[in-house]
């Protein structure tokens, strides 16, 4: 009898051990973090190749995104200038406000639907999502530090080594896994549940108001050649005539071509209601001012977009009713589910 007991305990322990090792190997049945291409979206550019999306990788990326200790004076995280309630742009800041109260030269862009972008920044200088954060990390007016400093901080600061082990199988942190974790977090930020999306995907059950519908028609006639659906940008670079001579050379900094002087990336209009101020230098603090620029403020800059000069008339003439209708439509691009999604929240 006593022997039987021991056998039973042994068998049970072996069973338990087996179960343990089994659960370590098998992937969780339900991954709460997913990347799904919305049905009204094209194929993504970033495909998580060599960087399999996992819950642990995503949560590590999120922790890094919000950790102010990564910056030179331990005051600035990615999340400082990319705030969820502003579509991960920087509300009320014309340009980014980094370490030591230093002001950058451009407006922090929104962060979502990044997996569909092949180039990043206002001038398209960064050409792969994974390497994007290095610029903000090293810029003296943003986080003001360098990869080596961050990597050694992470290697010596609990619980980071364990979190890296959980995510990538090794507790030795290097810049590659740091950047991969951040990419798992940022690439997963998808905003595709605005009223506009619901109307597009299910017009039987959702509809625009009369104003929104008018605005949508106007938008398709006057704006969609650059801000094309469904991303609301054609991802190109152009000059919208903000200045006769742009102080910031924009895209030319990257290509060296004078035909790119003063051109900037056409931004998405999704969540535009929440992500003021607008333009590369944040000069406009309301959508009314933006539309008034197109109505009456367009300058004949040297590389002005051809669509902004028609039969020698500059800009896009808009009546005040049309402006209001356009704004009504633009507000249908606000995606509350994304803005309030706790998955992306600092918590």
């Amino acid at each position: 009898m006593r022997h039987l007991k021991i056998y039973l305990i042994l068998i049970t322990s072996i069973g338990l051990l087996y179960a343990c090792s089994k659960t370590e190997v098998i992937k969780p049945q339900t991954e709460e973090i997913r990347f799904v291409v919305p049905t009204n979206f094209p194929d993504a550019v970033y495909k998580f190749e060599g960087n399999t999306l996992t819950n642990t990788g995503f949560s590590l990326g999120k922790k890094l995104f919000y950790d102010v200790r990564l910056s030179a004076d331990k005051t600035i995280s990615c999340g400082s200038c990319h705030q969820q309630f502003a579509g991960f742009a920087n509300l009320d800041h014309k340009v980014s406000h980094g370490v030591n109260n230093c002001l950058g030269k451009r407006n922090a862009p929104v962060l979502f639907n990044l997996a569909w972008q092949k180039e990043f920044f206002w001038d398209g200088g960064a050409k792969n999502l994974e390497i994007v954060p290095i610029n903000a990390i090293t810029d003296v007016c943003e986080m003001g530090t360098d990869l080596n400093t961050i990597v050694s901080f992470l290697n010596t600061t609990s619980p980071y080594p364990q979190l890296f082990k959980d995510a990538f199988g090794t507790e030795i942190v290097n810049s590659q896994n740091l950047l991969k974790a951040l990419a798992q977090f940022t690439a997963t930020m998808v905003s595709a549940n605005s009223k506009y999306d619901k109307v597009m995907r299910n017009p039987q059950q959702n509809s625009f108001t009369a104003d929104e519908q008018q605005g949508y028609q106007l938008f398709k006639e006057k704006c969609a050649s650059c801000h094309s659906e469904p991303l609301f940008t054609n991802l190109n670079y152009t000059s919208n005539g903000l200045d006769l001579n742009s102080i910031d050379e924009g895209r030319k900094v990257i290509t060296g071509l004078s035909s790119d002087k003063g051109k900037f990336r056409i931004p998405t209009l999704r969540n535009i209601e929440l992500s003021s101020p607008y333009m590369h230098d944040g000069r406009f603090n309301s959508l009314e001012k933006v539309l008034e620029h197109y109505n009456s403020g367009v300058q004949h800059s040297e590389n002005l977009d051809p669509s902004l000069i028609k039969s020698s008339q500059l800009g896009i003439p808009l009546s005040s009713i049309q402006k209001q209708q356009l704004i009504s439509f633009l507000k249908t691009l606000t995606d509350d589910e994304f803005i309030k999604n706790k998955i992306f929240n600092e918590n």
Binding site: G125, E130, I131, L147, Q176, L179, A183
Partner: protein, 256 residues
Amino acid sequence: MNIKNISILLFTLLTLGFTSCKKDEVINSKEKGSFTIEFENEVNGTPLVLNTQNYINANGDSFNISVFKYYVSNIKLTKTDGTIYSLPESYILVDASKPSSFLNIFKDIPSGDYTKISFIIGVDKERNLAGAQTGALDPALGMFWTWNSGYIFVKLEGTSPQSTATNKALTFHIGGIVDPNNTIRTFSTDFSTGNPLRIRADKSPQIHFTANAGSLFTGKQNISFANLNFTMGGANSVLIADNYAVNLFEFEHIHN
């Protein structure tokens, strides 16, 4: 012994000698071996000493060097029969301040006699556009541009009394993959057929190259530091790349 006998003896000896040599030469192509590439950094014939040594460029300008780093990648070896072996994942960063980077060992190379080597001075286009890399391509190594993303292929910094830049600085950061400012250059050299790179399971031959930092400033066009002392990509970087493509590297010899 008459002449005939001597001839026969000589013939026999020679034949034996050759046969025995040939026997040693049987190569099992399924075997793998290793080899090492050594880079010796110099400036126009004298060893490179960082910071303290003064050099004269082809234009007659005096200068010293505080940083000299370069990428060598995509190494290919060509056998006597013309077949080419491309070394997988061959990315080297040589840093004049780190002697450990001068010697680079490559393993698992198919046995054979190789008479030619070629490599990219810099990093191929694909990896310039790829996601986060590690090893020699780790962006933390200071050879990666973040504002216009891509690798710096060759980096030389120093000072020259002729430089008009702040603190008389010389800043040559060469990179870029988009025409017309593409600075990817390929170097290749033949080895002597009498002493090819002999890869065998039981040997580890060494190839010696010199890397001449002075080559950035001559070759196609002599550089005057009063006119050009700063470049980070663009047309002036192409000028420098066209210069060093000529004689940054020189094959010295092989120790088999």
